[in-house]
Every structure is written in structure tokens, then in C-alpha cells.
Amino acid sequence: MPSILNIAHMCSHLQNASKARLGLTSIPSNKYNLHLALALHRSGFFSSVYRAGPHPPTPEQMVAQVPEPVTNATVAKMRIWLGLKYWDGKPVLSKATVISKPSRQLTVDVQELARLTRGFPTKLKGGVVSGLGVGECMFVSTARGVLEVREALAKKVGGVLMCRVS
């Protein structure tokens, strides 16, 4: 089980980056971050997800080239570069907060997931989690990868609640 602390760092970094109106930002390259980034990309929060070295990749590079493979020599330098989106002068991703903490993992089963998705606050083992609001997304780490709650519900899998993004 990877540490949820990575996700906490990623969430706060994304909030900071969108407040600074950055177009491209990077997070440490690890599997947990990458999977969450891809799930966020699926939900339309990012324009691009690309793995590259310490220097930001050009748009042409991101479109044309496959990310270079990670080797033992380069693994420490690798970053995940995320293209942030803005619409109408406002960031598409403006808020990202972590739900589970290392000291309090919150797991949901399918029934609880269904309640949360319909917007009801739900009492879990670790505490009460408020339901989804308008335009909000929640991400769950499941046995089938990091999924958005609606995807997880469609696949009928539960897991660890990671973060909520809006």
C-alpha cells in the first residue's frame, strides 16, 4: 500500500499551482501520483499528463514523443508534468482536498459509495464523509486502480477514499 501522504502533497500543490494560474506544473513521478493524475485527466481536469525530466517538456514534445522510459539512472529525476486548464478566467481545478490521512484511512464499500455519489453524507468506519456536491469529483483507490467514484460504482468496487476535487 503506497503512502497517502504523496496524494496530500499532490493535492496541495495542485491547489497552489491553479491559484498561481500556472499552465504546466510538475509533481514527483511515482505510480500513485501517476494513477491519480490519469484519473483526473479522465475526468477532464488536466489538458495533458506527461512524464519527463526536471525540465518542462515542450507542447510539441508532449504530442509527438513517447515519454522516455524510466531507468535506474533516471528514476530519481523524473517528474510528472501536468497541463492545468482554465476556463472563463477561472481554473477548472480550483480545489483539491485529501480525504484519507495516513493516520485515518477511510474505506468505502459499494453501498456507501452509492450513497456518497448521490450526495448524501455517509458514516464510514473512520468518520462521516459528506456526499458529492454539484461539479465535485471524488477519487477512490481500488483493486482496479485509482478511479473516480462514479467509475468505481459502475465497476462495483470499493476502496480507499483518496481526495475530492472540484
Binding site: 475526468s43 477532464g44 486548464k85 482554465y86 476556463w87 472563463d88 477548472v92 456536491g133 454539484v134 461539479g135
Partner: protein
């Protein structure tokens, strides 16, 4: 001498500027050596270098170089005087009023030996810049980039031929061609005036004393002297002829008085009759005889105002009738009809006159009123002050604001401004729901005491999705409330409503320490929220909502925060566009959308 002489200066001086620059190159203006220089002189040297740089940059641009080069020359000569062997004592003695800082600096400098001056030049420079406070030093007094050029410097004082040439250059007399050109434009009187004006000013005065004013008090207007300005112009003498008083005996006086009154009455009666005749004509023209009466509407109006004008029209008509009486012949029937109509109106007018003086006809004529008035000829030689007249700026401001569309609802004009701004009718404006939500009594502590006023926060809403917030303050509570409400109407903006009954999702806003959280609720939930938010929801047409104020409940901030929260709801459309995803409202999907 011509009035546009100043415009020519700059174009001519380009060549002269080049000459002056050569002169500058010939002067022994070698930069002083470091050994002999004090910190002052070092500054001068820097100045010199900078100025020279500036000069180079500007040579090709305009004639202004000329002024600058002279300034530099002056500057240099002054500075070279200072470059004598440095002796601090006399300078210290000379300037008692020197500030403490520079006194201290001079003392420090005097403590050094003559040998160390050269090697410690750098340090001195630093000391020179050292300040006793942290803020940036004030720049030295700002001077114009262009110095005045004295006539002495131009060599005009000593050589008369130079002066004559300069005068011919700058302030030449009019040539014959120019005079001809003037004659084609101006009347002889005007040309005479121009000539007199030219003669009144000696060109030498302009050369020696004239300057282009650049001070802040220079007049900002172009004066053509058509209007007397009491600040500068002498009031002209009125040329009224004094008359000899006639001391009549009582019988003569009575005769004269009687005849005067009879004349006045005759004149007044004839004018009355003319006026009523004109009115009758006008009425006939309006009703049927438009093409039969020659006088136009405007002419008739003029006639009614001033019956004297009738003579003019009568003469013209006669002349016209003689010239083309063939074309202007009316049929007999037409004439009869017209006569009859005019007769009727005329009779009506006469009966009106006979009714009495209070029908408006017995009043004195305008002319009499003017003659008798404070500015009239009768008062010409009195000690009474003349009438001041109306201030042009307030003319027309005291109109009654009544608008016939308002049906007498707004005679004091309170709603006229907002009617103009919103384009709504008075009825619509008055139908808007308004309410004062917050009232505060505030004081402004002045040195004269406390000034108490009332601060009002009001809302306005049309009950169908529009809400406005108005804040006003006044010493009059009623006025503040009214102003706040009108402001609220003006500020009305549409707010988003989900299904025209609640809000989109949950909204939250914070003003100061007050946080307002609003929650969308299902149909029939009602307005379960604090009373001010309740009023706002009622005004804006929200029917289902829950609200919470977890922190401060300050009335004013809670209203502001609730307004912010209502204005900043999430917009699913925008979210969908931003993420590139389709968003579906499930309430409209399940049960075929029949959720009610």
C-alpha cells in the same frame, strides 16, 4: 510684428543651434583632473559629462539644443570657479545657515591632510552620499530643461544692428501682401483695431521682457476679448444723456400726465387688439384656413409676442399683392368663409378683452416692464445697483419634474433619476419589492462634535430571479432608507435559480468574520434560514433553501455574504465546458423528468 511670431522660433533656431555647438567645442572645457577635484567638482564633472551626452543625443532633433548648450556653458564657468584649491575654513565661516549634515561633512573633510585627498576620493564620494535617514534622498530642485536666454547673451543689448536684425527676424512688420490678405478677411474697422493693437505693443518689449508663460497660473483659454470680464476689464461708461428736470406748475403737470397716460392707453389698446387679431388669425389657420393665410405659424407667434412687427408684415403683404395679385386670387366663396371664421374668432377675443383686466390682457406690456425694471433706462442714473441676472449654470434646474406618464404619482421627482437610469416606468419601479434589512446608527467624530447619521442596507427584488443590494448613509434616516432602496433597485442583478425555486448545489461566502452557507433543498422544503436571508430569498423568488451562519452573525456582513453566496453559485454549464464532459441533471432523467 505678427501674432504668430512664437511659432517661428523653433524652426529657425536649428541652424543657430549647430553654430552654438561649434562654439562650445572651441571653449576650453577640458574635464578637470582627479587630483584637483573636490567632491563638489566631481559632481560638476559628472553633470558636465551627462549633459554633453544629452546634447549629443539631441543635436539632430530640434532647435532646443541651442538653449541647452548655453546653459552648459554657464554651468561650466560657474563650476570652474569652484575648482580652486580646496580650503574648508572660509567656506565654513561663510555659510552659517548650512544644515548640520553638510557641516559635519565639511569638518570630516578638513580633518584630512592634503596628501590623502587624492587617494581617499572614493571614500569622500561615499560620505557625500551618506544619509542620516533611510528614505531615498530628495532630488535637487527640479529645473526646466530649457533655460531662459537673456537678451544680453544674444548680444542684443550692445549692438543696435543686431537688435534690428533680430527684431526684423522675429517681429517683422506686416508686408503689403499680408496687409492685402488681411483686408480680404477683415472689415476696415477690424483692420484698424489690429493695427492699433500692433502699435500698442513695442516689439522691443517682447524681445527684452516677453516670455512664454509656463507657470501654473497662465490663462488656459484663448481670449478674443468679445466679452467683458469683470476681473480684468474696466466697466465701460454708460452714455446716457442727462435730462433737465422740468418743474411744472400743477395744471401743466396734470395736462402732461393726462396726455402721457392717454398715449399709453392708446398704445396698449391697439397692441391688445393687434394681439387678439393675431390670435384669431392663428386659430382660424389652425382650424381650416391653412392655405388661405399667408403668415406662417412662427410669424404669428412672433406677432403675438411683439405687436410692433405687424407693420413689417403689412407692408410686405401690400407689395406682394401688387406684384402678383393674379396668382393669389381667392374664390369668393373662400373669402366669405374665411371672413366669417375670422369674424367669429375676433368676436370671441373682443369679448374676452371686455371681460376685465384679470383675463391677462390688462397687464403691462413687456416693454413697459423692462423700462420700469431695475435694468431699465429709467434707472440709468440711479444709485440702485443693477440687476445681477441669473447664473447661467442653474438655468432650468428648478423645473418641476412632473412627468405626465406618472399620473401624478411622482410630483417631487424622486423617481425621475432611476426612471432614466433603468428605463422602467414608475409603475414597474414601484411594484418592485423593497425592504430595509439593516439599520445602523453611525457617528463621525469631527472637531466640531459628533455627526450622527443612519446607515441603511436595503434589498430590492422582483420576486422572479433578480436581487439588488443598496447601501446608503445620511443624517436623515428617511432619506438614507429611500436612497438605499433606489440604489438596490439600480443594482438588481439576475441570480441563478435551480428550477426557479432553489440554488445550484451548496454555496458559501465569507465577508469579514461572517460565513454564510446556503444549501439547495427539495421542493416544498421552504425557507429555513435566518430572517435576513429569508427576506433576500423572498425578494429574489427562492422558495426552498437552508442556510447556516456558523460564525459571526453580524447583520450587515451576513446580508453581504448571503448576497455574495447567491451571486457565486456553481454553474454546471461552465463546469461541463471547462472539463469537456457532459453533465446531466439526473432529476430531469429519472421518471421521465416528472419529478414534481
Amino acid at each position: 510684428m505678427k501674432s504668430n511670431c512664437f511659432a517661428r522660433v523653433s524652426s529657425r533656431d536649428v541652424a543657430r543651434g549647430a553654430q552654438e555647438q561649434q562654439w562650445l567645442a572651441r571653449t576650453p572645457a577640458t574635464p578637470p583632473t582627479a587630483e584637483s577635484s573636490t567632491s563638489h567638482f566631481h559632481g560638476a564633472f559628472l553633470n558636465w559629462a551627462n549633459r554633453k551626452k544629452n546634447l549629443k543625443g539631441r543635436v539632430s532633433v530640434r532647435g532646443s539644443v541651442w538653449f541647452d548648450s548655453i546653459a552648459i556653458a554657464n554651468h561650466l564657468t560657474r563650476r570652474i570657479d569652484l575648482a580652486q584649491p580646496f580650503n574648508p575654513e572660509p567656506r565654513l565661516a561663510m555659510s552659517v545657515a548650512r544644515p548640520a549634515r553638510s557641516l559635519l561633512r565639511t569638518c570630516v573633510a578638513s580633518a584630512r591632510t592634503a596628501q590623502t585627498v587624492g587617494c581617499q576620493h572614493q571614500q569622500q564620494q561615499q560620505q557625500h552620499q551618506h544619509q542620516f535617514h533611510t528614505s531615498a534622498p530628495r532630488p535637487s530642485k527640479r529645473r526646466s530643461r530649457f533655460r531662459n536666454v537673456k537678451a544680453e547673451d544674444l548680444g542684443l543689448l550692445n549692438s543696435p544692428e543686431k537688435l534690428a536684425k533680430y527684431r526684423q527676424d522675429k517681429f517683422a512688420d506686416y508686408t503689403k501682401e499680408e496687409l492685402e490678405a488681411l483686408k480680404s478677411k477683415y472689415t476696415p474697422e477690424q483692420i484698424e483695431a489690429i493695427k492699433a493693437g500692433e502699435e500698442a505693443i513695442d516689439p522691443n518689449d517682447l524681445i527684452f521682457q516677453g516670455r512664454l508663460r509656463d507657470d501654473p497660473y497662465r490663462p488656459q483659454y484663448i481670449e478674443d476679448y468679445t466679452v467683458l470680464d469683470p476681473r480684468y476689464d474696466v466697466k465701460p461708461e454708460l452714455d446716457g444723456t442727462p435730462f433737465e428736470p422740468q418743474w411744472l406748475n400743477p395744471s401743466d403737470w396734470a395736462d402732461k400726465y393726462g396726455s402721457k397716460l392717454t398715449d399709453l392707453t392708446d398704445k396698449k389698446t391697439s397692441e391688445q387688439l393687434t394681439r387678439s387679431m393675431v390670435r384669431a388669425l392663428r386659430r382660424v389657420k389652425e382650424s381650416n384656413g391653412a392655405e388661405l393665410i399667408d403668415l406662417t405659424e412662427e410669424e404669428l407667434v412672433d406677432l403675438e409676442k411683439d405687436p410692433e412687427l405687424l407693420k413689417k408684415y403689412l407692408v410686405e403683404e401690400d407689395a406682394e399683392a401688387k406684384s402678383d395679385d393674379e396668382s393669389a386670387i381667392l374664390t369668393k366663396e373662400q373669402v366669405m368663409k374665411l371672413d366669417k371664421a375670422i369674424d367669429e374668432e375676433w368676436k370671441k377675443e373682443l369679448s374676452k378683452i371686455s371681460e376685465g383686466p384679470d383675463s391677462g390682457e390688462g397687464e403691462p406690456s413687456n416693454l413697459e416692464l423692462i423700462e420700469d425694471g431695475p435694468a431699465g433706462t429709467i434707472r440709468l442714473h440711479t444709485a440702485e445697483a443693477v440687476e445681477l441676472g441669473k447664473v447661467p449654470g442653474v438655468e432650468g434646474l428648478y423645473k418641476s419634474a412632473a412627468d405626465p406618464e406618472d399620473e401624478g404619482q411622482d410630483d417631487d421627482g424622486r423617481y425621475q433619476e432611476i426612471k432614466r437610469l433603468t428605463g422602467m416606468s414608475l409603475r414597474d419601479i414601484q411594484s418592485i419589492y423593497r425592504k430595509v434589512l439593516v439599520q445602523r446608527w453611525v457617528t463621525n467624530q469631527t472637531r466640531l462634535g459628533k455627526v450622527r447619521s443612519t446607515s441603511i442596507v436595503a434589498i430590492a427584488g422582483n420576486g422572479n430571479g433578480r436581487l439588488g443590494l443598496g447601501i446608503a448613509k445620511s443624517t436623515e434616516a428617511g432619506l438614507a432608507a429611500e436612497t438605499a432602496q433606489l440604489l438596490a433597485i439600480r443594482n438588481m442583478k439576475p441570480i441563478r435559480r435551480y428550477e426557479n425555486r432553489t440554488i445550484y448545489g451548496n454555496a458559501k461566502a465569507k465577508v469579514s468574520g461572517t460565513v454564510v452557507e446556503l444549501f439547495a433543498r427539495p421542493p416544498g422544503f421552504g425557507l429555513r434560514c435566518p430572517h435576513r436571508i429569508f427576506e433576500m430569498c423572498r425578494a429574489s423568488g427562492i422558495h426552498d433553501i437552508a442556510a447556516r451562519m456558523p460564525r459571526s452573525k453580524n447583520p450587515m456582513n451576513s446580508v453581504k455574504a448571503a448576497y455574495d453566496a447567491l451571486m457565486n453559485q456553481v454553474d454546471p454549464e461552465e463546469i461541463a465546458i471547462g472539463r469537456g464532459k457532459k453533465m446531466v441533471d439526473v432529476r430531469k432523467v429519472y421518471y421521465g423528468g416528472n419529478v414534481y
